[in-house]
Amino acid sequence: MSAAVDCCDPSPPTLPAPGARPQITLAGNPNVGKTTLFNALTGSTAKVSNYPGITVERRAGALALPTGPADLHDLPGMYSLNARSAEEQIALDALVGLGGHTPPDAVIVCLDATQLARSAYLLLQCREHGVRCVAALTMVDEAGAAAPDPRALAELLGCEVVAVTARTGRGLPELRAAVDRALRAERRPAWVWTPSPALRGQLDAIAAALPARWRSEARYRQALPAADDALALWALACIETGGDDADELTGVPDELRQAIARRSRERAHDDEPVLARWAWLDRELARLAHKPADRSRTERIDRVLLHRALGFAVFLGVMAVMFMSLFWWAQPLIDAVDHLLKAGGGALRDLLGDGIFTDFLVDGVIAGVGAVLAFLPQILLLFLMLGFLEDCGYLARVAYLMDRIMKSMNLHGRAFVPMLFGFACAVPAITATRTMERRRDRILTMMVVPLMTCSARLPVYTLVIAAMIPASHVTQGLLMVGMYAFSVGTSLCAAWVMSKTVKPLKAKRLPFLIELPPYRFPRVPDVLRMMWSKSSMFLREAGTVILACSIALWALLYFPRELPASSPDYAALIERAPSDDARATIAAQAQAAHLEHSWGGQLGHALEPAIKPLGFDWKIGVGLVGAFAAREVFVSTLGEVYAIGSDADAQSRPLRNALHSARRSDGSRAYTPLVGLSLMIFFALAMQCMSTLAVVRRESGGLRWPIFLFCYMTVLAWTVSFLVYQGGRLLGFS
């Protein structure tokens, strides 16, 4: 693919081409202040996007160096370069120039002064690959007297070390200057350990099997045998040749896999590099007389927050505040947006007059924008709270406290927060799955969150219970509580079943290690910046799909406009109506007739054979089509079908009466309590929300998982409703 330089020609170190901006990458362990450093170095120039296909955030911004501008790319936090999953592979690819990435001209590696050995481990790996490194020593204030001397450290590690305090800007000019010098340094892989003869033999064999585009000649434009060895070492350790441990790496050539498979029996040397690096770190860092940092403040806080009783009380309080604030603070904003758009739509209608174009603008476009904006306050609030809790270190503690419960369903401890938010709305809840690092954990959580009783199901339950299930208020209330319990039960069961049956969701035998970082005060600008970048990405990527689907759904329920010749001339009837009330009644009837003959209405009729075994007629079918915009739209669509008008809500007495008195062709009641129960169960289980599907598509990076989600929930809903309705009839209920 790329023109490899002749390997015998010792080409000079690669300087960035004249005019091209140097590409700098920022790497480091999680919780070392990397994001703060990134923000301090790039200021307001940062842009956030996703790596294609997977949800690993890609942050990039401009970095001013003494000799000119450069680009700085932020990598996800990592402990090691030994990538096994697609997510971890991004970091390796970006650092050494695999998978279509150009190798960075220099890399800033964050060294945590309070966790020196562990963060230096990553630096050693980078140096083995021939990455030009500059170390930024962070958390110096926190380490206090335990902080190592940067000069001694630089001598030891073989690269420049600059102590920085991103908050005050201390050390940033020195860091920029050091990066500038690194750009001009020769690219020289450095190993602090020597492979044993047995490992040496394996490395030679595998390095020879590396594809041409992976060789240092192609990546760095100069032959660096040690860099090829480093890649061979990674391949030997991480490429799995089958069985339950199969890796999730992409783009590994078959020849290389076969070369590794031939050696799979002799891989006893697996631990050698890891042990050798640690032995070096333990020996050399001890000479710097580096002591572990003081953790007593964190320990005192943990004594309360992780306490058997007190810890749970605080935890419940924090979760309750977060959850309720989605209602308290987001709901007024959502209502305000709704009012504003309604008023705007009304004004536009007055201005343009009635017509298809006006209907398109008001009921299609503006309503669609409203559907997107309705999520924005919740998403902003959620990311604000999550960012705050994550940065101060509490989110890791939530996972620690709840892991026992989540583990029994094969879920990650961090899945608790998204599941809780599922009670408010699945869309923000699914975006909250990003706090989990493993794709398998994220996808499994996304697959079960939509089963939780979201707030959009409430109006449907309220209407169905009031109109179809004659019972005392107490029984009706208990039924509502029952629906909540049912949703928790089904989502936990679904997680368990899927983790046992769906191959990509099966639990992998990787350690469930969560770092419990020291408590730190979050930096408000960092939290706000993160909140804004994540929310605007939601608007861009999920919002556009939601808007397009809203407009398509409007068209489905609006066109065609022609009524059959047999229907009355509603326009003329309205003309002749004796009173305003009569006019409104006839207009509603006209609307109902249009809806019945729209494509959506025809779809409702077409669905009838499929939903009849569940006890539903075509009118409910149309309601189900409308509910795809958002579940609560079921109520207003049903209002239109029954010619009550689209303003009907769950409290609407006319709609309740209409449902109550609806009759089948044989004169029996159309909506018996059994139908009501079947309908509620269908709503509890069915995937009827295009916004959820749009956000799952965005978060899972493709159509595969939203399609799976739609199929499994629909089949589940149909089956359970069928069993309830038919079973109830067998037992003598009607």
Binding site: Y79, N82, R118, D244, D270, W278, R295, D302, L306
Partner: protein, 75 residues
Amino acid sequence: MAITLAEIPLGRAARVVGVDGPRAFRRRLLEMGLVPGAEIRVVTIAPLGDPLRIEVRGGQWSIRRSEAAQIAVAL
């Protein structure tokens, strides 16, 4: 005598002897610094009995009991 991290008394300092389990699992723990000879202790147990909060090399981690049982230690 072989004893695992899941069995040692709370707060008692121990040394890692070795890590067992599938390759990827073992390597991940080794790379975190749980190499033979490293000092390790269980700080607390989560209120519901699992996971454990462990301290190694000045950092703290949450680790499931079943995984701690793969780590051989010596008191």
